[in-house]
Symmetry: C2
Subunit: 337 residues, 2 copies
DNA sequence: CAGGAAATAGTGATCGTTCACTATTTGCGG
DNA sequence: CCGCAAATAGTGAACGATCACTATTTCCTG
């Protein structure tokens, strides 16, 4: 389906004014508040607007007001589904009267950062929310003019908003597994450019240390099923843990596959946990123990900072908790040795 | 991380001109082509631009040129991961000199259509590519001004670009399964608001008819794992097919779960196929036979129509085929009865 | 009904860029 | 070194809205 509407120019505020028999400024007032106008005037403008099917030219408005009401969200490509987070962020932005542009960029942190500066520098958006990792100190490079950048993921100095990278459910998972008798763990990390991957890895190591557990080690992966598959196959029989904590569900699925290929039962011999509560992994046998994320909530809360920084407006944050563990069949008591 | 750059106004073309000792028009020329300027003039402007860290105000430019160079892509929310399609579409748009705004809208077809009209009507974008179902005949409602709308999914009169809804791999899957000895099939459809779901259902029914197969029926679902799970459980033992063709991998995972719960082996008793080549489903046992999509290519090709309609420019389409079947362990010979 | 404040409406400048012209400089043949 | 075309640069209007004022009308009070 392809349609092109009539070629004639769109009507302007002055044409509406002429048709309604008022000045352009009166129409301008009408557009913004609709108060302080006589009922008669108002209805004449109403009629003119309808007759001409007038809609204000937002480009011209932006030009004069120096406000675009638009925000950009920088998304990572392909690594996970950012749609739900984007949705939460967009909803919050709408509440504060902003529209949102999503920009997905391939390439590394540097490429993303470059593109972000480009977006921020042309006055097209009032702020940028980066849901993908960007270089630190990027704010300093911003051209003058007040475009604000909020990074939801950590920057390289490990500062960050935090919620996105909150790894506490991983600690809860491990503690419960310890109650189940597990002593020997293994962690397959995600792409460490992501704060969430770094945080989960750190939480794993910290918990091993704190509870005096054994660890078959940590393998740095890339969020892929293959990374989980390869990591498990890289272990010797002696190293084999009784619990594999994977960075996400995809990694977990690869790990489970490798465990089965090695003749091990899940959860009989080895328990496996994931992250993200991937719908496919809920059903396939064994149902995967995972961490359910309120992605809309996380997106919303990330956007709150940006909205506040730009307009000072404080929106209602998403109700906590934003993550919780869902126990399924892939976890169970540690095997007797 | 939150940063605010200096509050001072961004430099304008006139300030650059003054610093370089030329007229604003000369700077304007410099910005566009950089030809037809004396080397001396050019380097003076270069220096001024760098010193002021000048970037053109695209809002002002759009105002004068009546062109924004921006396109919008309307995305469905949450049903599947549109990131890769968006990426292909964005890449194609960049090649033609457009930037892309992604708009995800919740709600039904009507709500989406309404929002789309809003976006198209304010002159902020030159075109809209709808990757989510919208109401038919929407072009007629568009305000004057030449915003173009291209719908990649079918409209309600079942016209459409087609590639997105190409169900031919489903036919290939069924024919192969027939070679394997399968005679009795079952289809769990996706949300029929989507052209792809309608096309797969139609292809299933047509193939059953053409090859004279038995069908345990078609259940209309919603792309969810639960819909696959419930659909299988709704069958009596007598109705049970030897092959389940699911609308996508998530649905397939639900179906597999239900089959296992009923004591059936996959693929020993029943073969199952999905769609989308979901990464998690590749690993979990049994590896799911599915249809791999070149989502970037599909997104790209959808964008081509829009770009062509707006600028007349014809970009290189993605190489075919854009979909192909990946055979894995969830399919096998029909059981002897 | 005069007078003044409040409510309502109008006028012209302005945002930062490009467009359509006009003006100036350069280069070159004779 | 004149004259003229080509190359280069400058001037002012325009895009479509809002802002900062000023002007007019309405309403109320005494």
């Amino acid at each position: 389906m392809t349609e092109r509407s009539t070629e004639s120019r769109r009507p302007t505020i002055k044409e509406v004014a002429r048709l309604a028999g008022v000045s352009h400024q009166t129409v301008s007032r009408y557009l913004r508040s609709r108060n302080g106008l006589k009922p008669d005037t108002l209805s004449r403008i109403d009629a003119a607007v309808n007759e001409l099917n007038y809609r204000p030219n937002l480009v011209a408005r932006s030009m004069r007001t120096r406000r675009t009401g638009r925000l950009a969200v920088l998304l990572p490509t392909m690594l996970y589904n950012p749609a739900r987070m984007l949705h939460g962020a967009t909803e919050a932005a709408h509440e504060a009267g902003f529209s949102v542009e999503a920009v997905s960029v391939i390439g590394d942190t540097e490429a993303r950062t470059e593109r972000m500066l480009e977006i921020a520098g042309t006055g097209q958006v009032e702020g940028v929310l980066a849901l993908a990792p960007i270089s630190p100190g990027v704010g300093d490079q911003l051209p003058q003019g007040g475009t604000i950048v909020v990074a939801a993921d950590f920057d390289d100095q490990m500062r960050g908003i935090g919620e996105l990278a909150d790894a506490s459910p991983l600690v809860a998972v491990m503690e419960r597994l310890v109650e189940y008798g597990h002593r020997r763990f293994f962690h397959v990390a995600g792409n460490l450019q992501f704060a969430s991957a770094r945080a989960r890895k750190a939480a794993y190591l910290e918990t091993v240390e704190r509870l005096g557990l054994e660890s078959a080690g940590v393998v740095d992966g890339d969020w892929s099923g293959k990374s989980g598959y390869d990591a498990v196959h890289s272990l010797s029989d002696e190293q084999m843990p009784t619990a594999v904590v994977a960075a996400n569900d995809i990694v977990a699925s690869g790990a489970i596959r490798a465990l089965i290929e090695r003749g091990l039962d899940v959860p009989g011999d080895v328990s496996v946990t994931g992250w993200d509560n991937n719908e496919a992994c809920q059903y396939l046998p064994p149902g995967l123990t995972s961490v359910e994320l309120n992605l809309e909530g996380l997106g919303r809360n990330a956007m709150l900072s940006l909205v506040k920084a730009i307009s000072g407006r404080e929106l209602e944050p998403a109700p906590r908790p934003l993550q919780h563990v869902v126990w399924r069949e892939s976890t169970g008591p540690a095997p007797r040795r």
